[in-house]
C-alpha cells in the first residue's frame, strides 16, 4: 500500500538521526572561557542602594560591593586540571563594573580545549602570591590600590569591600543608617583568610577554538551575613577590618556564597 510505504519511509527518515562525531581532536586547541559573576540577595538580583533585610531585625544598604577572585582553575572529565597563568590569575569582581544585567565578566583566554566539569577559585590572595612581594604583583597591585582593595603593603590586600549603611533594632541603642564596612582580608602573614571554593558545573563546559562557553556564577551576598554563621551588626560586624576574631567568620561565610547557576555552550 502506497501510504504504508510513505509512512515507513517517514519513519525510516526519523530513525536516521544525525550522527555526531565526538572524536574531534582537541590536542593543541585552545579557547576562551567566560566567567559571569552575578551578585544576588537570595533570589533577587543585587541592586545598590536597596535596603535588604537580614536576620535579627537588621538591614543593610550597600554603595560598594567588590571582592577578589584568584587562582582560577578548571578540571576536565578526565581529571586534568587547567590553571590560568598565575600572573594574570587574579581579578577584582566589582559590582560597579557590571553590565546592564549587573553581571561582571572575566574572560579567560588560551584555555585548553576540553570538556570541563568543575571550577575552583580562591577568594582573596594566597600567601604564595603575597610572598612574591610588592614587585611580584605585576599590574595587580596598582589596580588593587586604585580600587581601594589594599591596606598598607605590610597588612596586605582587602579581599572584599562591602561599604554602606546598616540598621539594627537589636543594637542598644537601636541604629538607623549606621556606617557599615566589611573589609576582610589576610593580615600580612600573621592571619590567613584566603579560601578556595570548588563548584561542579551543572552541564559540561565545552571549551573549543570555535566555542566560547560561559559559566554563570551567582554570588548570594546575603550569605556573608547569614551563611555558615549568622552575624549581627550589633555585635561588631558592622566594622570588620583586620580583627583576628571577626575576619575568619566573614571569610568562611564569603566562601559559601557562590553557586554555578548554569552554563552556556555557545
Amino acid at each position: 500500500m502506497k501510504i504504508t510505504k510513505i509512512a515507513l519511509a517517514l519513519l525510516l527518515c526519523v530513525s536516521i538521526i544525525s550522527c555526531s562525531s565526538d572524536d574531534e581532536s582537541l590536542e593543541g586547541q585552545t579557547g576562551t572561557l567566560t566567567l559571569k559573576f552575578d551578585n544576588s540577595v537570595g533570589d533577587q538580583d543585587f541592586i545598590f542602594g536597596t535596603s535588604y533585610n537580614k536576620s535579627n531585625n537588621e538591614s543593610y544598604k550597600l554603595t560598594t560591593l567588590k571582592y577578589i577572585v584568584s587562582n582560577v582553575r578548571v578540571k576536565d572529565s578526565e581529571g586534568n586540571t587547567f590553571t590560568y597563568p598565575t600572573e594574570n590569575n587574579v581579578f577584582i569582581i566589582d559590582e560597579a563594573n557590571g553590565n546592564n544585567a549587573g553581571e561582571i565578566l572575566i574572560t579567560l583566554d588560551g584555555v585548553d580545549a576540553a570538556d570541563y566539569t568543575e571550577i575552583t577559585f580562591g577568594i582573596g590572595i594566597d600567601q604564595t602570591r603575597y610572598a612574591l612581594g610588592a614587585d611580584g604583583q605585576g599590574d595587580f597591585l596598582a589596580n588593587a590600590q586604585a580600587a581601594g582593595m589594599m591596606w598598607a603593603w605590610a597588612t596586605g590586600y582587602r579581599f572584599m569591600r562591602f561599604d554602606g549603611t546598616y540598621s539594627s533594632t537589636i543594637a542598644n541603642p537601636a541604629v538607623e543608617d549606621g556606617a557599615l564596612a566589611l573589609h576582610m582580608g589576610s593580615v600580612g602573614t600573621s592571619l590567613d583568610n584566603y579560601k578556595e571554593v570548588t563548584l561542579a558545573f551543572p552541564n559540561t563546559v565545552r571549551v573549543r577554538e570555535t566555542a566560547q562557553p560561559e559559566v554563570h556564577i551567582v554570588a548570594d551576598i546575603s550569605k556573608v551575613f547569614d551563611g555558615e554563621t549568622s552575624v549581627n551588626f550589633a555585635d561588631g560586624y558592622n566594622q570588620v577590618h583586620t580583627s583576628a576574631e571577626t575576619t575568619p567568620v566573614i571569610a568562611n561565610n564569603l566562601k559559601g556564597i557562590f553557586e554555578v547557576h548554569h552554563v552556556h555552550n555557545n
Partner: protein, 330 residues
C-alpha cells in the same frame, strides 16, 4: 473573473508542498454533514511550540480541505535568572497553508506549511525573526466501526451502518525547513525560534464520537524529537486535546461552538547529549471556539487560555492564543 473561477473543476492536489486555494463552487447548497474532529495538533513543534500547546491539526469535521490559518500566541518570559529580573514579551504570529487530502478510503494526508513571524520585546530593545517554519506532514489511517445488527434486521442489506465512533491513527514527520539559531537557544525562552532544525516523528491517535448534534473528539499525540545540527535537541512532547461541540444548523449554514481542554508535557531539552536544567514543563489549556460553515467554506476561530502551567522552570508564561482559519472543503 469569478465566473471563470466558478467553471474550474476542483482538483485537489497538494502532496507536501503545493496548495492551491480553490475556487468557489455554487452547487453546494446543502451543508455537508458536519462531523467534528478538531484534530488537536501541531503546535508546530517549532520553537514556539516548544513552549506552547497543541494547536489543532485540522478543521473541525473529519473532512478533506485546504485552507489558511493564522495563529497568534503571546508569552511572558523572564529576561534573567532572578525574581526581580526584567521580563520580555514574545509575540508569535504564524501563518499557515494547511490541508488534508484523501488518498484512499481509509488513508488521508495532512500537511502544514507555516510562515513564522516572531517578535520579542525586552525592556530596552526588541528582536524580530521571520521566515518559513517547520513543515509537517502526516498520514492518517482510519479505523471504521460498524453498528451491531439487530436480530430482526434484514441480512440481505449489505450496507452496514457506521458506528458513532471513529478512530484515526496518524504517523508523520516534522521537517527542519525553518531556521534554527543556536544563539537564541541560550535565552530563557529557547522556544523563540522559527524552526527546531530537527527532523521529528509524530505519532497520533484520534478518537471521534458524534451523535445527533453533539460530538466529542480526543487526540493524543507524541512527538519524538531528534538532535539538530547544533547538537541541540528539544524535549520529546506529549500532547492531548479533547473538544466537545454542538452543531446548530441553519437553512444554508451551520454553527458549531465548542469547548475543550488540551495540554502538553515536555521533556528536558538536551544539548551535547546532556539535559539542560529547567527546560522541561507542562501546561493545561482551555479552549473556546466555533466554526461557521456556509457552502463549502468553513470559518473557524478559537481562543485558548492557560489553566495551569509550569514551563521552563516557571520562567516562561504562556498567555493567550487566538486562532482563525478559513478552509475550503474538498
Amino acid at each position: 473573473m469569478i465566473k471563470d473561477l466558478q467553471n474550474i473543476n476542483i482538483k485537489a492536489v497538494l502532496i507536501g508542498l503545493l496548495f492551491f486555494l480553490i475556487p468557489l463552487q455554487n452547487e453546494a447548497k446543502s451543508i455537508p454533514p458536519h462531523e467534528h474532529s478538531a484534530f488537536e495538533f501541531f503546535c508546530d513543534l517549532c520553537g514556539c511550540s516548544t513552549s506552547s500547546g497543541s494547536s489543532s491539526f485540522g478543521t473541525l469535521g473529519n473532512v478533506s480541505f485546504v485552507g489558511v490559518r493564522y495563529i497568534y500566541q503571546d508569552f511572558k518570559s523572564k529576561d534573567g535568572i532572578f525574581s526581580n529580573s526584567p521580563t520580555s514579551t514574545e509575540r508569535f504570529n504564524t501563518y499557515q497553508l494547511w490541508g488534508r487530502v484523501p488518498i484512499s478510503e481509509r488513508f488521508s494526508l495532512n500537511a502544514i506549511i507555516p510562515y513564522q513571524d516572531l517578535k520579542r520585546e525586552f525592556e530596552d530593545r526588541s528582536e524580530h525573526r521571520n521566515g518559513l517554519g517547520d513543515m509537517s506532514i502526516i498520514g492518517w489511517y482510519q479505523f471504521k466501526f460498524y453498528k451491531k445488527k439487530a436480530e430482526n434486521e434484514d441480512d440481505a442489506n449489505e450496507e452496514r451502518e457506521l458506528s458513532a465512533h471513529q478512530l484515526n491513527f496518524g504517523l508523520g514527520a516534522k521537517l527542519p525547513t525553518g531556521a534554527f539559531e543556536e544563539g537564541l537557544a541560550n535565552r530563557v525562552n529557547p522556544g523563540f525560534q522559527v524552526g527546531t532544525g530537527s527532523f521529528d516523528a509524530v505519532f497520533s491517535l484520534m478518537h471521534t464520537y458524534s451523535r445527533n448534534k453533539v460530538g466529542v473528539n480526543t487526540t493524543a499525540t507524541y512527538y519524538l524529537k531528534t538532535e539538530n545540527k547544533n547538537e541541540y535537541r528539544f524535549g520529546n512532547q506529549f500532547s492531548f486535546a479533547s473538544n466537545v461541540y454542538y452543531n446548530v444548523p441553519f437553512e444554508k449554514s451551520a454553527l458549531s461552538p465548542f469547548i475543550g481542554v488540551s495540554g502538553d508535557v515536555y521533556d528536558s531539552i538536551k544539548q551535547f547529549g546532556e539535559a539542560l536544567q529547567g527546560t522541561n514543563g507542562n501546561i493545561v489549556n482551555g479552549t473556546l471556539g466555533s466554526e461557521f460553515m456556509v457552502d463549502k467554506f468553513i470559518v473557524g476561530a478559537n481562543y485558548t487560555f492557560p489553566i495551569n502551567q509550569h514551563l521552563f522552570g516557571d520562567n516562561v508564561t504562556s498567555k493567550n492564543r487566538f486562532t482563525i482559519y478559513l478552509n475550503y472543503v474538498l
